[in-house]
């Protein structure tokens, strides 16, 4: 069911990670990804994994939620794994069936690549699970602030992102409802050729678009009524301020990169 998608959902909480400045978390994820890509060996992967597990346990996000969030990505994971498994040369040949060979190198790379993607996604989930979308957009707006001088509409972009995030659950629910309503009139989305199925979507897409435009129109009016007039002269309830914890977080991340880089230097 469409409703089960938890991608990009926020879990309110009060952990240290929740309370970090969103800019720290945004930059932190970037630093974490750098570390992940520097990692080349079992040991360095282990170091990054340990860091990730530590961060998740501090955030008090149930690991179950992270796992369930992965579900829509299973296909990509399997695809990456299989691709690396069969299309790597070198190392000892382990299995050979018909034209397909699995080498020790292939196996290692498959494990590394899938764990890299898993750890990459878990890291970004940790960001979206612990940071409210508004804080996230505020953080982005602040980090991208310098671009305003180049006439990039930073505020407008972040506002759009914020509203998009707000309306994703609403529109998913709406899609579900319209699909059910058309199914109740005998629409069939599961059977028939690709063309039949594409045609079957028209009764869903037309009402969905009309409804999205109506919502947009009503929302624009409601925002105007609440004195919205763009980014100029706007203030924020939650001011972004780096605190002591942000300092520690940056310290930890720098240490992580340093350790992984040094290990890589030693060929590990």
């Amino acid at each position: 069911m469409l409703k089960d998608i938890t991608l990009g959902q926020y879990f309110p909480g009060t952990s240290v990670i929740h309370r970090l400045d969103p800019r720290t978390k945004l930059l932190g994820v970037i630093l974490y990804i750098v570390a992940l890509f520097l990692a080349k060996s079992w040991i360095s992967y282990g170091v990054v994994l340990a860091f990730l597990i530590l961060a998740i346990s501090v955030s008090k996000i149930p690991p179950k939620s992270i796992v369930s969030g992965m579900k829509p990505l299973v296909v990509i994971l399997i695809f990456t794994g299989v691709l690396n498994l069969f299309y790597s040369d070198g190392g000892v040949v382990l299995v050979k069936i018909w034209k397909l060979t699995i080498t020790s190198e292939g196996l290692t790379r498959a494990i590394f690549m899938t764990s890299r993607i898993l750890m990459l996604i878990s890291g970004t989930f940790l960001l979206t699970y612990t940071t409210s979308p508004i804080a996230l957009t505020d953080g982005l707006e602040s980090l991208l602030g310098p671009l305003k001088k180049l006439h990039v509409p930073v505020h407008e972009l972040s506002m759009m992102m914020c509203i998009a995030l707000r309306f994703i659950p609403t529109l998913i629910e709406e899609t579900d409802k319209i699909m059910n309503a058309q199914k109740a009139r005998g629409a069939d989305f599961e059977n028939g050729s690709i063309i039949d199925r594409a045609k079957a979507l028209i009764p869903v897409l037309v009402p969905l678009f009309i409804s999205a435009f109506r919502r947009a129109d009503e929302l624009a009016t409601a925002m105007e009524c609440r004195c919205y007039q763009g980014g100029e002269g706007r203030t924020k309830m939650k001011l972004l301020r780096y605190g002591r914890n942000d300092f520690y977080a940056f310290g930890g991340l720098t240490a992580l990169i340093a350790v992984v880089a040094v290990l890589a230097g030693f060929g590990l």
Binding site: M1, K3, S68, G186, P207, I210
Partner: protein, 287 residues
């Protein structure tokens, strides 16, 4: 009489195995006879919407059965599809699901999916339009050029055109003014009488369900807590209020009258109230 639709111990759990697991229906059983007008009341989230979607095979029950004319609607794939047509479902704000260029084509969507002949489709579209009071000229205009109340009637006609034996409606009068409400409710009654169809209507208006229905199903916390005629349901004032529901205003008036010491029966529509008061007044006149 043989019931047309039966629910047997229906249970439905959403998102099994995720942190969002939630039991939306819990052991719900009831049956509906042909031609019966049944109301469903319950607060938001009491399980009404889930129940509706079980009854025409949109959602498969986690456990329990739905019987249409005695046959389990999940017994074979063809019958599940047939059940969609024989149990018509009108969602809340159905006008938001219109999509065709003309009113005619939109109403014809269901009958076309049923695979009927062109003549039969034409007959059904015109008959359904008649039930909801749409004119010939209106059949050729775009549904998006109609007023809100008219759009709603087009959407209902789209379901009626499938000639379902059971018509289920989720708050068909929400957001309409008194005239619009009366018109829609009249359309539904007309269909019921013409086809001896059973009607199952979810409503937040206690006055409407009191006036129209033969029987009320009260949902609370995923369970069916009452299944009785309105007269009996509205006796339970305290329970209904605790469930976030209310009772018709005339019922409130009569409860107060009883507190004042008048010997009145429980009533729930204006007609009954007038009848009861005249009975009392005249009885007194003779005494």
């Amino acid at each position: 009489m043989k019931p047309i639709l039966q629910a047997e111990d229906l249970t439905f759990v959403y998102s099994i195995g995720t942190p969002f697991e939630h039991k939306a229906l819990d052991g719900v059983s009831f049956s509906i006879n042909p031609g019966e007008f049944v109301g469903i009341i319950g607060h938001t989230g009491s399980g009404k919407s889930t129940l509706m979607q079980q009854l025409n095979g949109l959602l498969k029950p986690t456990s329990g059965r739905v019987l249409l004319d005695g046959q389990d609607i999940w017994s074979d794939k063809k019958f599940t599809r047939e059940a969609r047509f024989r149990v018509g479902l009108v969602f809340q704000y159905p006008e938001y699901q219109l999509f065709e260029e003309t009113v005619y084509k939109d109403i014809a969507f269901g009958p076309t999916n049923m695979g009927l002949s062109r003549e039969e489709i034409d007959r059904r579209v015109r008959e359904a339009a008649g039930f909801v009071g749409l004119t010939e000229q209106q059949l050729e205009v775009s549904p998006f050029d109609l007023s809100g109340g008219q759009k709603r009637r087009v959407a209902i006609a789209g379901v009626i055109a499938m000639e379902p034996e059971v018509l289920i409606l989720d708050e068909p009068t929400a957001g309409l003014d008194p005239i619009g409400r009366a018109e829609i409710l009249g359309n539904i009654q007309a269909y019921r009488q013409a086809k001896n169809a059973a009607i199952l209507m979810v409503s937040h208006s206690m006055e409407d369900v009191a006036r129209l229905t033969d029987r009320l199903l009260v949902m609370n916390g995923s369970k069916l807590v009452m299944d009785a005629p309105p007269s009996q349901v509205f006796e339970h004032v305290r329970e209904l209020l605790d469930m976030g529901l209310s009772i018709p205003q005339v019922t409130q008036v009569f409860l107060r009258l009883r507190e004042l010491g008048a010997d009145v029966k429980n009533v729930y529509t204006i007609e009954q109230a007038v009848f009861e008061l005249l009975r009392l007044k005249e009885g007194k006149g003779h005494a």
